[in-house]
């Protein structure tokens, strides 16, 4: 007798499959990493920052890099399912479709966090600035979650369209703007050495964005995948 897998077990199964296929192909990870490294190299040569300006600018450069690299990964996440026809395979499984969403969200988050883990020390070397700070890591974890919570939903919508490569960035950046502003502001405030009380409003905004948009995406995903 078969039993339907529990919601989170199904989500973890999807995430594990994504990570295993990515580990073997390294298609998205290598493209995202190379792109992210190129961006910070270009900024390094273009801006030639003075020490005083570094703290404020670094957060912006870091988040632009993570966003663009993340957009590359988001495009791949559903396109690869659609192109191989595996999307139907997933939709035919007797699981809550939101479990597929959370599986994709989790694998995407982990991959982008890995990119950030490689990026931060290299960025620190290039710009002579220590970015391995617990607070900054927290903002990156939360900012990436909010960005991908919206991005995973929009990428699933865009994958059904013919102009999906163009559609995703056009939809993604306006919707995620509040999360990105909060993440940049929280990060730059922290890097400038200002007191924690100045960081708190941005952190609250980031948390609220994450919570609201993750729940909205959870509720909307089944409708988005319908036909």
């Amino acid at each position: 007798m078969n039993r339907r897998p529990r919601f989170w077990r199904a989500a973890l199964t999807v995430a594990w499959k994504d990570l295993l296929t990515e580990w073997r192909s390294r298609e998205a990870f290598s493209a995202m990493l190379v792109f992210a490294l190129l961006v910070i190299f270009i900024f390094n040569f273009a801006l030639e920052l003075k020490p005083a300006a570094r703290a404020e600018i670094s957060a912006g450069i870091l988040w632009v890099t993570l966003c663009f690299a993340g957009a590359l990964g988001l495009n791949r996440a559903w396109v690869s399912e659609k192109d191989r026809g595996c999307l139907d395979g997933l939709l035919l499984a007797p699981v809550d479709r939101a479990a597929l969403y959370f599986g994709k969200l989790f694998s995407g988050w982990l991959i982008l966090m890995l990119i950030a883990a490689v990026l931060l020390p290299i960025y620190g070397l290039l710009y002579n600035q220590n970015l391995i700070l617990p607070g900054l890591l927290l903002f990156i974890a939360l900012g990436v979650e909010g960005y991908l919570a919206v991005g995973t939903l929009l990428a699933a919508m865009a994958v059904q369209a013919r102009s999906r490569d163009l559609l995703l960035p056009v939809l993604l950046f306006p919707v995620t703007l509040p999360a990105l502003i909060a993440a940049v502001k929280a990060s730059s405030t922290l890097l400038s050495g200002l007191p924690w009380v100045d960081v708190q409003p941005w952190l609250m905004l980031l948390l609220a964005f994450d919570l609201i948009f993750t729940v909205v995406a959870w509720l909307a995903f089944d409708i988005v995948m319908e036909e």
Binding site: A10, T13, K17, S25, C86, G89, L92
Partner: protein, 234 residues
């Protein structure tokens, strides 16, 4: 068991299925024939719960669609011309992934049994991207059989296969037919349909225009029957 009464499916202003009535009993193997654009794939996608009917009543494996689509999915197997596999996973890993999503009990034993059924035990640990198209389609039968489905939908499963691969696929299909299971196969291959199916339905412009038991046809009589049915529908 599959039943559709007055089924209508529209894409925008285009009506693809028009007041279609269809029944397939448990144990029956129905081949669905028809020209390109007749609505075969749309009909199969409605029966799979992937498309909502615009109107009409559709029941598959005792589940009323679209309301009970979730219940249907654990009683349904689908094989299409795309094998629905991840090339960077092995044959066994692909079956394990889908088996976990289906909550298949005693999964390891079930995977072994299905690899044996499809003749792929020797390549169980090979990446699917190294498989020939024929091997992928046989594995697709294994994937569709994971939940031991009551209904198996096949959308042109022979597309792109060479003769040897077609014969191997036919053997796999013959093994899974019967046992009270309902099979519905959309196809353009008249000879294969006559050999495999117990009944043939002809779909033209979104309606079933003819239906006959294959046993009632003379040898090589399906082509004549098909042509006459299309001419009558003109």
């Amino acid at each position: 068991m599959i039943e559709a009464h007055n089924l209508v499916r529209r894409y925008g202003y285009r009506t693809v299925l028009r007041d279609l009535n269809f029944t397939a009993a448990p144990g029956e193997f129905v081949a669905l024939l028809g020209p390109n654009g007749a609505g075969k794939t749309t009909l199969l996608r409605v029966f799979a719960g992937l498309l909502r009917p615009t109107s009409g009543v559709v029941t598959v494996a005792g589940c009323l669609l679209p309301h009970q689509a979730m219940d249907l999915r654990s009683r349904l197997g689908v094989v299409s011309h795309q094998p629905l596999f991840y090339g960077d996973l092995t044959a066994a890993e692909n079956l394990r992934f889908y088996g976990q999503l289906y909550g298949v009990a005693h999964l390891a034993a079930r995977i072994e049994a299905l690899l044996a059924l499809t003749g792929l035990e020797a390549v169980r640990n090979d990446l699917v991207r190294t498989f020939s198209r024929g091997m992928q389609q046989r594995l697709a039968i294994g994937r569709a059989m994971l939940p031991d489905p009551q209904v198996l939908l096949l959308d042109e499963p022979h597309t792109g296969l060479d003769q040897d691969a077609c014969v191997m696929l036919d053997q796999a299909l013959s093994q899974v037919a019967g046992q009270g299971r309902t099979l519905l196969m959309a196809s353009h291959d008249l000879a294969r349909s006559a050999a495999l199916a117990s009944r043939v339905d002809i779909l033209v412009r979104g309606q079933i225009i003819a239906s006959t038991a294959t046993a009632a046809l003379p040898p090589d009589g399906l082509l004549t029957y098909y042509r006459q049915s299309l001419e009558a529908a003109q």
